[in-house]
Symmetry: C2
Subunit: 282 residues, 2 copies
């Protein structure tokens, strides 16, 4: 049984959701983008059934996915509300959950926070792909006040994308992603910045020539899209700071061991890291 599904923001995530829900799941997909060109492209490529730059199109939708940048989500919901009927279900795809849930749940009780943990190095509708969510985590962050039917409906849609569903509190989500997604960006970016701080130009030049896969992998997320890194720090500020402070403690510990030539403690730590990593990567 197809539903009418609205998607606000036709970028990588919104566009990829539209592709899977229209072509794979036989729903009617209605898209909203601020840019008329993006609307035309989405219709021309058959990604959506209807598209508009006017939020009133969402009045027909049973379920609406908010796929805008985090910074405009609350304002978008405020403009959207006049067009909704009371049983319209709202969900979002933002990569930080506590500030989104705190801002939107009071405006629209029938809201379920969500975070499909998928992406590519590219963005925009051009980068949208089918099956982007297959086998990827899709986190739902309902609160005690979230209506069960809304949660079940969003979960069923996420499941139909082939994603692995997780439920947790918004704050737990934000702390977990601070560790495995946001902290790595800061750690990795600081590695590049530290190398650039070398004052001996001959040594920098040699470092650039010698760098291979180890440096490439460790510096990858730190050399990525600056807007993304900024967004993480800005909207997940408390959890990112908490992780950064713990990280600095660990780093100070390593510096202390190397300064003291305490090879035994350093080796124990390196061994512990080696043993623990597969719990995160297997």
């Amino acid at each position: 049984m197809g539903m009418k599904i609205g998607i606000i923001g036709l970028g990588l995530i919104g566009g990829s959701l539209a592709i899977d829900l229209k072509q794979g799941q036989n729903h009617t997909v209605l898209g909203v983008s601020r840019r008329a060109e993006t609307c035309q492209q989405a219709i021309a490529r058959g990604i959506v059934d209807e598209a508009s730059d006017d939020l009133s199109l969402m009045g027909q939708a049973d379920v609406i996915f908010l796929c805008t940048p985090l910074g405009v989500m609350e304002a978008t919901v405020q403009q959207l509300i006049p067009h909704l009927t009371a049983n319209t279900i709202l969900t979002d795809v933002g990569s930080v959950k506590a500030p989104v849930v705190e801002a939107i749940a009071p405006l629209w009780p029938n809201f379920v926070g969500g975070h499909p943990m998928a992406g590519t190095a590219d963005n925009g509708l051009d980068a949208a792909l089918s099956n982007l969510f297959v086998n990827r985590a899709y986190v739902l962050t309902p609160t005690e006040a979230t209506p069960a039917l809304a949660v079940q409906t969003v979960e069923a849609i996420a499941q139909s994308l082939g994603a692995k569903i997780y439920h947790c509190h918004p704050e737990e989500h934000d702390r977990a992603v601070a560790w495995i997604s946001h902290l790595p960006v800061m750690v990795s970016g600081s590695l590049i910045a530290a190398c650039l701080s070398e004052s001996d130009q001959k040594v920098i030049k040699l470092a650039q020539q010698f760098a291979s896969s180890g440096f490439r992998d460790t510096s990858r997320v730190g050399g990525g899209n600056p807007e993304l890194g900024l967004m993480m720090a800005r909207y997940n500020q408390a959890a990112v700071l908490r992780s950064l402070h713990s990280y600095r403690q660990q780093l100070d510990q390593v510096i202390h061991w190397v300064e003291q030539s305490d090879w035994c403690s350093l080796e124990t730590q390196l061994r512990h890291n080696q043993q623990a990593r597969p719990d995160f990567t297997d």
Copy 2:
């Protein structure tokens, strides 16, 4: 014109050198390993022409590659010297250069420090491969006192492996590899250690479930062979500490910006990192 080339230590690097020099370059390759089993295996696989657990075999060699762990290199050279004639050329493949050059050059003037920057995740003779050095950096660290003929001879052999040759001072090498190889291991290991410091077991569990390619890449070298990380810190202690202190300054700067909500400075830094990374990875 084939030479007689000695290789002491038949592990990944020594074994791979032997394969290329015997099969590809038509040299006579003589191998020494402490373990009789390794000697037998090297002969059985056709990796060397002769093998022995006795350093006297090296008396015939024109050029000898020291491929032992850093910790036993000096003692090995002391035992080796009685077997050599004055024009025997000695070189090594150690990943740190200043302590090796300082220890060995006074014992044997005809010595050229070297570092072929190649490797795999495996080690030992079983892991040895042909063409391991093709297009990889091969760094030579002669001093003012190193005889020109020794440098030319080692360079010609390194070139015949298909490697890209670089020359620099031992200290410059050690500072450059501290930035792009040793610091990344400490930075990446501390990321794993920091995640494990999370006291909320629910959050750790979620972090493990949510971790994907960003965490995998950033944590890879930190979750690698502990002996390798220990060796870097131990033998390149001064340069590693120098890099660690610069890194901590960069990290403190990031923490300060996030604490102060100074998004403008953070964005400038992230943008700078994005622009600079290709100089190390392209």
